[in-house]
Symmetry: C2
Amino acid sequence: MKKLINAADSVVEDALAGLAAAHPALRVRNRVVHRADAPRPGKVALVSGGGSGHEPLHAGFVGHGMLDAACPGEIFTSPVPDQIIDATQAVDGGAGVLHIVKNYTGDVLNFEMAAELVEDVEVASVLVDDDVAVQDSLYTAGRRGTGATLFVEKIAGALAEEGAPLAEVARVAREVNERSRSFGIALTSCTTPAAGRPTFDLPPGEVELGIGIHGEPGRTRVPLAPARELVAVAMAAIHGDLPLRDDLLVLVNGMGATPLIELYVVFAEVEAIVRGKGARVARSLVGNYVTSLDMQGFSVTVCRLDATLTRLWDAPVETPALRWGR
Amino acid sequence: MKKLINAADSVVEDALAGLAAAHPALRVRNRVVHRADAPRPGKVALVSGGGSGHEPLHAGFVGHGMLDAACPGEIFTSPVPDQIIDATQAVDGGAGVLHIVKNYTGDVLNFEMAAELVEDVEVASVLVDDDVAVQDSLYTAGRRGTGATLFVEKIAGALAEEGAPLAEVARVAREVNERSRSFGIALTSCTTPAAGRPTFDLPPGEVELGIGIHGEPGRTRVPLAPARELVAVAMAAIHGDLPLRDDLLVLVNGMGATPLIELYVVFAEVEAIVRGKGARVARSLVGNYVTSLDMQGFSVTVCRLDATLTRLWDAPVETPALRWGR
């Protein structure tokens, strides 16, 4: 294993120190990353979190127009309820807090427990489960939450910034999830610092279709094929679940170690397929955003836009990983 | 070799198609990427370029407040003079064009030839040679141009956007280069699509100090060490060449396949060293920006700021890879 780390057991701590040093608009304490200007009185606050190893998700999305706080767990390990309670209390501005939870068993349990235990804060929750690849998985009952998390955090974050009440922010967050679908393909495994060796074996010349963001198994393995064919598989899976039509928001996402030049090759194929269905890529994002440590591969996430969601996507955002419009 | 490509000989073309589809504010034609709103009458235009494989450099930095055009060559291959002439003529708004050239033999020759051959356009050039690792290299007489290219493009681009004349934009571009130093360390080789195998052999457990962005050799190989020790080597090389003091702009850059969590671990160590010298990281950027295909590793680039350079760094920018402030 070759990694830029000091020690396997200090990776999360060391990376959070770097995050804090690089981004003065954030505060990091007790494994909670929050906006330095939190709490914002009267604004609904958004809290997310999950295992580390998916950077920039979630801490890289804390800031104006997106999350108010993130709770990073250990690598691929849910944050504990105390962290979530701490974050929730730190950012509540009196208008309530929305928990954005990816559908993994540990995350769901710990966010539920935190929501029950937190005192004097109104909490609503939205579950993200956009991955069409498998119904249940190693860590999930039901579908996994992957790329749509970014869409939910961005769009609900913009609505909260506009001053919408908690019920409305939660409703739109759920709507974004319902309108979104994802599918991922891995070229390589990932290696956790603690294990020091690849999570699974993927022979040279094979790829895993429908991979999750923790290296959990997908649907099947097939021989490596041109990008055009791999993208066709991903888009067929998405289209089969939620037909591609009208205006779409598209994320072409790298799994952490995917060079940008390859992601643009993928994007060209995605856009051609969307166009071929008579739909349109109205908004897009290309890069490594919802990752799985050093995995190579990609995922595509598609969200069916309407005028309101488009306006909220376009709204100003200022976080370490997404910045525009201010 | 596992890559998300259609064919080894179509990677650049296919990726540029994706870039064009993803970014409606850009135009891509004949291997030139330019702002859709070019030429801007009365504004000095900035043109850069070089081999592909370093994405988002350079095409990802085309847009408001940065480059007016980029000329992507084949993978690790200089653009040809015709491309550069085409780009220069396409974006000249009557105020002249600045060529920003990384110091590699092919780039230097081809930009010089283009500057001589282009008609009716005033051209100035700035050479970027910030890498302190080696004096000459496989493709270079003198020092290599690496991370400081991003600083030069951003800061000179902001000055051009303000309406400064060509001589002044060129002067400040050169000043940014003179105030900047870089050093890179590779954990792995890169693999070009054409070769299909790693450019060089780097055994498990070893890293290459002073690596270039094409896999060309650095200073020496040493056993893999904690991030703290690797960063200390890089910062000592930089500090030995240009003492770290006062306010610094710092880029902690991934080589293309470096997970963000590791880059933040590196950043924490860089910031601690800077602080230990009595200097300050006044501005920073952490991510994969000046890359070498699928290489794992990092580089650090440091620029000594003054009030003017800080203002220009902070100025609005709107490109695929850098966006803020509008």
